[in-house]
Symmetry: D2
Subunit: 305 residues, 4 copies
């Protein structure tokens, strides 16, 4: 990714972002759909394109788009991790100047429309409850390629109406917050986890179980702070999933303020709240196994947004 | 709403938009939450505020906000239609200069988090599948107030992977579209329906049934065009719901183009599609009973967006 | 727009929304660009498409898109009002089943990039200061077509850091707001005005002057309320522009709250403010000439959003 | 940032995101406004909050918000870099458990409203042309704090209607793109640059000059690819700004497709284009001086979005 920038050190990458691919499996009357947003990024020796405008080593982003859609036909789209691996390996193995590839995918979930108590064969309603993600990185190619798979879930919005406290915190001259032992806590979870390997894993089962871990821990942990809840989530996932070596959680604290009704002679025992947009707390945690393989470029994405 | 603008005719209205209210019913350990976005609009003789800057007849939008949150305590929030009616009637009945009020509400749905097979008492995950809406309008006050309730559903995203055609259409010198007898059809439904009255209606049952009507018709109608599907939806709702006198449906045709894979020697029998953002078709229909009471200001909202 | 819905009254319309057209005038080395978002809507006797799935009277939205782009070549794009008129008249005059057409256009402004003190011939930077709009409606066709042009500006965000008051307002049991004689007032203006006619008007000059009227009135009026400022804007436009018969203004009151610094022993004389996202006041006004021609469908757009 | 996670390695950070601060300098009748979005992030020994729910070392995010607004009074807001430095140094120096702080700021530009040819004293219109950014990181505190300042510009949307080519590129079995020697090239620039130091720099002058460098290079470089344009931009900035040691550029290629009008017997010599939303190319480059000080945590932000 670094190359000849004359007197300067040049790093670079490029790709096609947000290919909106829908794959319909229609071999039988009971169709299956996969609704994806695919972003490809290539790394390699493209320095001449930057320094000289020489495109001879540059596979156009238009070609990358074509490849995504062609692979949806030839490889099918079942698990987004497998689809990402197929694409990333292709770019590294088959396109000479490419030494690294990253394929990031979002998958939007759909439910079958219920008709007379059973799911319809070919009619679907989009489930907006969360988005499944993966980012597959392949580097090196040849005999010793390195591969990382980081999967996740985002836009998973949760709220608990009690069972959350915030007290005993550090105080300085700018502290005015009152302690509370019973509050609403809400967040929109963005969680990603890095797998130890890239094969022999039941991606769907792992995803389903981890997502349920996150929801359950959110529900059952009596929370002294959002930090504690995140830690419990991460710990549970690592304990129950040997296939995962690292997990990163990011959680905006979506503030719900108890509305001051005393001004109108009314009690408000945490029943009437104002959900505020901004600002919000942003709490983050990462847990990893001490012996985890180096993460390399697994977490890297755009570097300048 | 019209008043003295000197040489010009003045119309006006004002209110507080997007009050983000969360109501927690917590009388028992099994909490219930209602998550609303409430917009109030007042109409009346406020002309002096416009022409003279005289606020003596103007109830501040800040007061309207306070009222929304106070009513959430005193009236509770069960059905958004009832909550809107209470607010709108209050403004018209209790605030002298107000001759008309409109309260528009969006409700975001939440599911209980599943823990060991049953829904948790106070932990919830947001269901993003659609948004429930209402707009309540009260005009006149006094002995003969007029009231309209227009409820709806929006952001209901549906797709059928077959059972949709588009052929036999009108053609002119700019027509290049090929006919098709098997395509993907997708849309994000925004539907609103006007009730005959404003009392004695089981709002929840009506909403649930209409939403299911829409989904079912989408699924079971073999569609010769999105227009036909919308009509079937509207007709079904009016046939099955005597409490509804008018329904309006708005449906963007979210185009899914069959990706040209023949260039790579691959067949594509409707399996690989590109979901395009813009432009999109926009198909609309309104059906009403011939004897429906006049709609008055029922559908009116902001007039200048 | 109404038709045969069997036992029900059917209204309908359809079109192609958000065609993102960029027109480059490149006859000389000094290029000119027009960057548009065009939405077409057709009205007419399309009932059979709804009731029977019969498309024989339906001009596909794909054809409407083609027409927009073809007209950009044959008619050019100079003033969006003229471009909209050409399109709307074409649909009504040349497509038999079409009895009415509405063409709504947004135009995004670009400035030339400054190089060595002068604007570059073919390099531009987008000016995000506001968006110019128009909506052209043609109905009837034949010997007596009716035409309305409603133009406007939106996303014009303005703020004054003093010269704004809010006091002397109506009070009830839910009023807690303090009066103020010096506050920050900010809004994002959305203004539309209806022209008396559709020809013989210098659209560019009218737009430029009205936009400047709005900004100037915002600046120079000592405001006792946002209502008063809107009225002054509307009045000025109608007084100075005989070509305009009606104007509608919509203004969210983007609240800027004085942050409470007294808790830290600091004065805050309106110097440090928190800009809040939601809720916001929404103030609206419409002024028209008493003798204005009937507005007909001039203001109508989507009816179910 | 790493701490005791029991059997697992724990990293963490937290803060208050998106404080929407407006600072009005109103000592004279000619007001000056600064409109900011401020995000604070603290790093340090907060592990007990995660593992035990012990908040005794946690400065609440609410306190961080208060600090931002209080500092706007006590320190003023002139250059966002200086404001960010003051905040970050305060957190590291004055709050015992904090060992590192990052303050990221966006600034929205406003122009004075023109009245009779001169800018008004206290009335402003928001200039949407671009957003100025900075991210200040302080680590270590005590005698040897380390400080990094990374400033930037984003949402700078540019287009050139000629002077851009794309040809001679690598081809494989999925390549279908035609070569072109005259195309529209458009992008929305997000650029960030790292300063060598954190004091003695005229931030405003540096920002203004770099922004102009970017625009000028975009205009004057005859571009064989967007890659080449980015490199020219980066090289120019490093050559002309000894105070900058590294620059990162991220540029979506906003595709403008020549619309096929031949189907209607019309020529289209690059005059009529369709601006497509998705997918888009995403081209990125980073240039740094070979002897640049290590970047440390300068570029780090949220790690899990």
């Amino acid at each position: 990714m670094t190359g000849d920038g004359g007197r300067f050190v040049l790093s670079q990458q490029y790709g096609k972002a947000e290919n909106r691919l829908v794959r319909v499996d229609r071999d039988t009357p009971r169709h299956v759909i996969h609704d994806l947003n695919v972003t490809t990024t290539l790394r390699g020796d493209f320095a001449a394109a930057y320094t000289e405008g020489d495109q001879s080593q540059v596979l156009p982003t238009d070609t990358q788009k074509n490849t995504v859609f062609a692979f949806a036909k030839t490889h099918g789209v079942d698990q987004i991790e497998d689809f990402g691996l197929a694409l990333a390996e292709h770019f590294v193995d088959d396109v000479a100047p490419v030494t690294g590839a990253r394929v990031a995918i979002e998958e939007y979930a759909w439910d079958r429309i219920d008709v007379d108590g059973s799911g319809h064969d070919h009619s679907f309603v989009r489930s907006g409850q969360s988005v499944r993600t993966t980012a597959v990185t392949v580097e090196g190619g040849g005999d010793e390629p390195q591969t990382w798979v980081v999967s996740g879930v985002k836009d998973l919005v949760v709220l608990k109406s009690t069972g959350s406290e915030f007290a005993g915190f550090l105080s300085d001259e700018f502290t005015t917050l009152a302690e509370t032992h019973d509050r609403v806590m809400a967040t929109s979870l963005a969680v990603r986890w890095r797998y130890a390997g890239s094969s022999g894993i039941d991606w769907q089962a792992s995803y389903d179980a981890i997502r349920q871990n996150l929801l359950e821990q959110y529900a059952v942990v009596h929370s002294l702070a959002l930090q504690q809840t995140l830690f419990a989530m991460g710990q549970t996932v690592l304990e129950q999933h040997p296939e995962v070596v690292e997990i990163r959680l990011s959680a905006p604290n979506i503030h719900h303020f108890v509305y001051d009704l005393a001004r109108f002679g009314l009690e408000n025992d945490g029943e009437v709240l104002h959900a505020d947009d901004r600002p919000y707390g942003l709490i983050q945690a990462a847990l990893s196994r001490p012996d985890a393989r180096d993460a390399g470029a697994a977490w890297e994405a755009r570097w300048s947004s």
